[in-house]
Amino acid sequence: MTAQLIDPSEITSRRILAIDDEQANVLLLRNLLEREGYSDIECLTDPGSALQTYIDFEPDLVLLDLMMPEVDGFQLLEAFGRYDRAEEFRPVLVLTADTTLQARRRALALGAKDFVAKPFDVIEVALRISNLLETRILYERLRKA
């Protein structure tokens, strides 16, 4: 249904920020996203610079790992939440190897819009990304209307 509403190119043209301290995972995500047709991708392995990048890059979607040295994903979720305007819908998809219920609850409570456990199914992750972007686009349209 949404496919009729939204042109796929409008989805893939969106900016995606991927944050993971593991180089291999970042590579996997970039590889997956590029294969799906996304072009505006920013990848970070240093969570320390994440907030600055978030502000400068203004991503439409964030792919976020939770367990990272120095600054972890929960702190970033809080920081993003503080920075975002209340009426904005900027989805964060948490991708983490921490499969505990507590981690899932905490991340979702801090504003994450979705949660996928590692190791993940690449196709599932690609579908969730496009769904979240679709929601964002529809949300923007609603606000403009």
Binding site: A24, L27, A97, P119, I123
Partner: protein
């Protein structure tokens, strides 16, 4: 009654034994009886007097009658003489009167005379009188003859005169005798009167004595004893022992005996109490592990036991009379002892745990209970203090707490480690599987050998993931880190669920899936997700390894407290000698045979952990053809009104 006070012990005893009613009767009847006796004797005495007076009267009558006889005869004789001399008839008058009256008087005398001497005189008198009258009659007849009779008359008259003299003598005899008799009778009357007087005096005396003895008897028999009883009762009240008395059978005696028995009983009880107090005192004195001692209201030590000496190091003679604040270390000595006494005074007792010091100044950790001691009126008498040396206990409790904290820390560390391990293993696997999947998507770009290689990578990666999941599951369960949600689950629901989930697996192995559901259904206590995990594992195993058979069968058997769920197949079976290793991790029963079958080697070990964490057991038994795996699930507490029948495993095909 004391035996010594009685003049005749046996009599006194007899008297004392009579009931009070008898005693009262005697006391009242005795004077009355004496009075009655006096009256009777008075009556008898007056009767005797009357009789004696009659006798005197009779004596006078006899005297009078004898005189009359004499007078009549004398007059008759004088008359007859006159007649003889004159012949005049009128002189015969006295003679005729005498003839008439004398026999009458004689007859009266005859009946009146009782005295034998008088009677003999009277018999003489009668003869003489008869002669006399005969003589007079002869004279009168002679004189009447009219002849000269002077010759014959003169001697007759002389005879007559002699007879009269004789008569007079006889009468004198009678009179004399009668006078003697009269004197005797008078004397008797006097005797009777005197006797009467004496009798009266004696009666009065006896009456007086009777009254006195009645009073005496009453006094000794009742009053004195009641008074003694009162003394006994007072002694009893003071708790003195009463001396045993001779048993007297009346009420007072029985009461006295009861008092004596009561005193003996009281004494026995007091002795018991004293013995028990003594025992108690000894026990307290001998107790070694508790310091038990007493304080006066100001806190001065007034008693000391062995335990107190052992714990505090003070000997009784050194500590008695000192204030108990000596046991407190300097930092609490100023306020805590007073505070403790105040608390005990207000609420009855006060408990405290803290440092105390021994005589040598060393410290020990004490548990102290101070109890206020009050008398019946609620006045404070002092305090009892019980002290225990808890230093060892405190040390071991601290050690225990440390050990527990360490164990908890270790458990936390283990959970943390598991969680980190999970994360660290999954993270590289994510890249491996992710890239593998991407390569599989692009597999038309590669040659056959590369495609196979990519397939091996993803397959090994998934296997590794399964291994990691199972391993972490087991570790987590064993570390107690898995929260089970145990609830009542309908067994048929479980069967329906497993049918839906496992049917494709069983069907893909070319086997039929037979379920024998309990009818009616029963409830079990289990975590739904975990029990499904176990069921899937067992059914999956049966499907995987049964490559020669025809079916996988699910059945159950109801028991009193649990349900046994069975998963059976008709495959090649498992040798008994290796069966015991079935539930050991990674022991896949001959890897060479089973290499073709995919599995982590952790499924049964995980199932075992899961079943046991739900309170059940798991096991295996070989069948004639095939194998049976079973596990038990607890049933909710149920009323045992219907004995749970063993439900035979009726293996009916369920289409």
């Amino acid at each position: 009654m004391r035996a010594g006070t009685a003049p005749i012990p046996a009599l006194a005893r007899f008297w004392a034994d009579r009931p009070l009613a008898v005693k009262g009767l005697v006391v009242i009847v005795l004077p009355l009886a004496v009075l009655l006796g006096s009256l009777v004797s008075l009556y008898l005495a007056s009767n005797a007097e009357t009789r004696a007076e009659d006798d005197v009267r009779r004596a006078f009558a006899i005297q009078r009658d004898t005189y009359q006889v004499h007078a009549l005869l004398a007059e008759a004789a004088a008359g007859v003489r006159g007649y003889v001399l004159t012949g005049e008839d009128r002189f015969l008058e006295p003679y005729r009167k005498a003839q008439e009256d004398v026999p009458v008087t004689i007859a009266r005398l005859d009946s009146a005379i009782e005295d034998t001497i008088v009677r003999s005189h009277f018999e003489d008198l009668r003869l003489i009188e008869r002669d006399k009258r005969e003589g007079l009659r002869e004279i009168v007849e002679l004189a009447e003859g009219g002849m000269d009779t002077s010759g014959e008359v003169e001697p007759a008259l002389t005879d007559n005169k002699l007879a009269l003299d004789e008569l007079r003598r006889s009468i004198d005899d009678i009179q004399q005798r009668e006078a003697v008799v009269l004197d005797e009778r008078r004397a008797r009357v006097d005797d009777v009167r005197r006797g009467f007087l004496i009798l009266t005096a004696v009666s009065a005396l006896v009456g007086l004595l009777g009254s006195l003895s009645a009073v005496y008897l009453f006094s000794t028999g009742i009053v004195r004893r009641v008074r003694r009883l009162e003394g006994d009762a007072q002694a009893l009240a003071k708790g003195e022992r009463l001396t045993e008395m001779p048993e007297e059978a009346d009420e007072v005696g029985r009461l006295a005996q009861r008092l004596v028995r009561a005193s003996a009983l009281l004494r026995a009880r007091e002795d018991d109490l004293r013995a028990s107090e003594e025992r108690f005192r000894l026990v307290i004195e001998r107790v070694r592990d508790y310091g038990i001692f007493a304080l006066d209201p100001k806190g001065i030590v007034t008693s000391w036991n062995l335990g107190a000496e052992r714990i505090k190091g003070w000997r009784a003679e050194d500590i008695l009379g000192r204030h108990f604040s000596s046991f407190y270390p300097p930092e609490t000595r100023e306020y805590l002892p007073a505070q403790m006494l105040e608390r005990a005074r207000k609420s009855g007792s006060a408990e405290d745990e803290g440092w105390r010091i021994r005589k040598d100044g060393s410290r020990f950790w004490a548990n102290v209970v101070i109890t206020a001691l009050r008398n019946e009126d609620g006045e404070l008498q002092g305090f009892a203090k019980v002290t225990r040396d808890m230093t060892e206990r405190r040390r071991s409790e601290n050690a225990l707490r440390t050990a527990r904290e360490e164990a908890e820390a270790a458990s936390r560390a283990k959970s943390e480690f598991l969680s980190r391990t999970s994360h660290e293993l999954r993270t590289p696997l994510n890249a491996i599987l992710g890239f593998g999947q991407l390569l599989e998507i692009d597999e038309e770009k590669f040659g056959k050998s590369h495609r196979e290689a990519i397939g091996q990578i993803t397959k090994a990666g998934r296997h590794l993931l399964a291994l990691i999941n199972d391993l972490l599951d087991i570790s987590s369960i064993e570390a107690g880190g898995t929260d089970l949600k145990i609830e009542e689950i309908d067994l048929n629901e479980l069967f329906d669920e497993i049918r839906a989930l496992a049917s494709p697996i069983v069907a893909s192995a070319g086997l039929s899936f037979e379920l024998s559901q309990p009818e009616p259904s029963v409830a079990v206590l289990a975590d739904r997700r975990r029990v499904m995990q176990v069921l899937l594992n067992l059914v999956g195993n049966a499907a995987k390894y049964n490559r020669e058979g025809t079916f996988v069968r699910l059945a159950c058997r109801l028991r009193d407290t649990d349900v046994e769920v069975r998963v059976e197949d008709d495959g090649p079976g498992i040798p008994v000698d290796v069966a015991e290793r079935l539930f050991t991790p990674f022991d896949r029963l001959g890897q060479q045979d089973r290499a073709r079958v995919e599995g982590t080697g952790l499924g049964l070990a995980l199932s075992k952990s899961l079943v046991e964490s739900m309170g059940g057991r798991i096991g295996f038994e070989p069948l004639d053809q095939g194998s049976r795996f079973w596990f038990s699930l607890l049933r909710p507490d149920q009323a045992r009104d219907t004995p749970a029948e063993e439900q035979p495993s009726a293996f009916e095909d369920t289409p």
